[in-house]
Symmetry: C2
Subunit: 545 residues, 2 copies
Amino acid sequence: MKQSQMLIPTLKENPADAECVSHRLLIKAGFIRQNASGIYSYLPLGYKVLRKIEAIVREEMERAGCLELLMPAIQPAELWHETGRWDIYGPELMRLQDRHGRDFALGATHEEIITSLVRDELTTYKKLPMTLYQIQTKYRDERRPRFGLLRGREFIMKDAYSFHADEASLDERYKKMYEAYTNVFTRCGLDFRAVIADSGAMGGKDTHEFMALAAVGEDTIAYSDSSDYAANIEMAEVTFIPKASDEAMLPLDEGQAKQDGQALIHVQVFKDNEDQLVAVLYAAGDEVNDIKVKNALNATLLEAAPEAMNWSQNDILTHFDNVTILADNGIKNIVNGVIEASGKTLHFNVNAARDLSNVQFADLRMIKEGDPSPDGKGTIQFARGIEVGQVFKLGTRYSEAMNATFLDQNGKSQPLLMGCYGIGVSRTLSAVAEQHSDENGLCWPTALAPFAVHIMPINMKNDEQKTLAEKLYQELGHQYDVLLDDRNERAGVKFADSDLIGCPIRVTVGKKASEQIVEVKVRRTGESMELSVDEVAAFIEGHLS
Amino acid sequence: MKQSQMLIPTLKENPADAECVSHRLLIKAGFIRQNASGIYSYLPLGYKVLRKIEAIVREEMERAGCLELLMPAIQPAELWHETGRWDIYGPELMRLQDRHGRDFALGATHEEIITSLVRDELTTYKKLPMTLYQIQTKYRDERRPRFGLLRGREFIMKDAYSFHADEASLDERYKKMYEAYTNVFTRCGLDFRAVIADSGAMGGKDTHEFMALAAVGEDTIAYSDSSDYAANIEMAEVTFIPKASDEAMLPLDEGQAKQDGQALIHVQVFKDNEDQLVAVLYAAGDEVNDIKVKNALNATLLEAAPEAMNWSQNDILTHFDNVTILADNGIKNIVNGVIEASGKTLHFNVNAARDLSNVQFADLRMIKEGDPSPDGKGTIQFARGIEVGQVFKLGTRYSEAMNATFLDQNGKSQPLLMGCYGIGVSRTLSAVAEQHSDENGLCWPTALAPFAVHIMPINMKNDEQKTLAEKLYQELGHQYDVLLDDRNERAGVKFADSDLIGCPIRVTVGKKASEQIVEVKVRRTGESMELSVDEVAAFIEGHLS
């Protein structure tokens, strides 16, 4: 492609409203343009990258035995009423009426549509399992669209849905999709972790999120420095339990004065969905993890209720029969500890083995950096991540609500077991840009680069340079996507644009064109060398393959 | 692909609501499913065909030097206010509000968005010309969605927009796109005509519509039986003017009795946008063409006003100074004609040369079957057509409204000249299905077929048949998209499904499998023969290439 005929509107200045690296560079390098808050156009360079990601996704989905289809964005409200999500989805779901006043949703996701499609078709175990996917535009009216393509309102997703007769089949598919996702993000050149995630509101079971590591990420990941263990910080199990000290146990509440070095226990109070008060005891310096408390109680709702208790001395362990007391494993072996709440000391010389024998212990705290990894390998570190994919065992949440059943081998009607699997295609584009850049611009991985090679005659008015550049453009064009900067611009402008766009290899045709010598530069490493024209193809092949 | 693992939900019965061949067969053969009125899902087979059409469109656009990009479906109302189309587009434009109450349109077309994108970029003649295109989902809330994908509310279009500094450049691009469209529809196997169309409401100049010929088409085309002349019936020029008879002229209004064989002239009355009355004289048996009258008058609006005149004898040619009188060329040489209006005779012995010398003559009638073709070659025939594409010289309609200007070679600011070019991608799919079927199902052209070869072992429980079928599946799979019907269904069901789906070649593996003999059948012609396994590949290559 000749650059004079392309639309690559690079900017000299940083765009004022860009909030992160990828947002800034994708606009500055002319890959995308904003049309409204959270709504973008992909200009030719951006669209080329997007199509390469789509091709990788498609290849891996086909390899994993998924079938591609395409569902509509406009979805009748009736289907969303069947699952109850018309009412519970909230303002993120964009809605509209047609000319007859009928309600429709703009698809934020496609569980309802796909379930309505298959309930008429997958009616016997003989047709199971089946996994269907689409690459399609999704709509979510984010409260606060930001970071360019990272949190947009109109974006491109690959969403897949699998249907099964039994858990074993769902498990197998989940594993296969997990592997396919690992392949996709690896091929896209992402530094990512598959993290254990919270299945919470979706009502399912197992779920992993694929997180591209990046400081701008909105989620915190706890990962092992020595294994592939990773989890959303809220989901990371704490297995480490401090040992008991060899101090002698002192009598409870005797002495009445806090000693230096005594272990401190804090109390946090919650109210569950049945208004039952819950007091959680945990080691000072730790942080209670609401999700773990909720799971320990099997509660559907949990609210902090710090004002609900009127503390006085010596009361938590003895005077509150109507309060459920839970304790974090971190104080399981505590010796002569002190319980404090709301700034008051409640008990002295608390010994878990003696005084907390009736209390339910569980893992109730947030994991911390430095904790041992739950898989026994290495130490926990924190990182920020951008969610680029998720695999999810939905179970029968949708099939039961929408009456999508099949006849099993015994002729018995059963709800379909379902899994769902998403990849943020446009978000992946941004995540790659977020990870692959330097102070001069983007540095695309070869698999996604809009062009593999950028040929740069320094002076198009010089016949030798022009002729040699065009010869290279022809020759290399047989094998690679090549961009030829045939513009009559100053060399400085052309180099700056080239760095900004970030093709993996640049071939500069300058003064030594007359000697058939060019400069070849690797964008990512900055490595650069003079080569004779005959050596260029071999160098590029060696580098890009 | 193994059929047991595909989703091909064929139906035994015709769908009750299907209104035309393509709608019926695409549903019956399991290519599409309706989700709501005018809103469809493309199941795996349908989506495979759609992707093949997209690939052809993309190749021809690239070859014509167009740049691909992707614009959003959600478009801010502000842009539509700039062109005034927010108010004039009517209920076909789907509209919604975001959570902040801001107005958006769901893109029915993208003139506003593309013009807003380029007005910041294409600011000098040096960057012109440029043609940008996208393949994208469009939304139009049709008053009466019907015929399956032919008139849907959510559909897929390729839309291209070109930008130019002068008319010559726009003309050249128009010609190039016309050729590219001819290539696209030819490669898709469509029987089509490029017809001269009405640029009417869009405010542009030249325009051609590409019409796939089909009885279900909503437009009537006038075409020559001996050349490539074709036009929308309203646009077809009538060049034929009957010669004068050699009768002697009789005095006007003398005799007062109609003679057998006298030529009859009718009068039709209109009111224009300035309430001026217009009477059109034309030969009985012809039909007045409103568009031609409007153009002759240079009027923006024209309404029939049959009650506006109070006729009495001998008045039209003498008593109505306040009425504009126009006459169709068909009565230019009339001799001793009779003028009638509203059942009354107004004049006898009208002779154009004598009595209509002050009247403006023009081509004002609809063309008829049997008229000479306006290009002088052959005779006009009528056909019905489905509009699958349109090329259009927009001129400065949008660039002026949206202030999209460039500096010309003299440094003078000028509005960009624009062209726009659309292909109905999903409609093309239906149009091909409409043209390529027989009583048993679809007959896909090779270029669009979801699978090139359908291998059909009659009995999967017969080891010889199964083994031979799988061997052919492997071997032919290296070169073609092959579908293997590995289902344990009755032969009758399998054959019926195969005819319905309509792959170009079927290889049936039956009783002669033990002799390494199979039956090969060409779907379109019904031609069928027994071949030894070794001959199959060569036959298929010969047939499909």
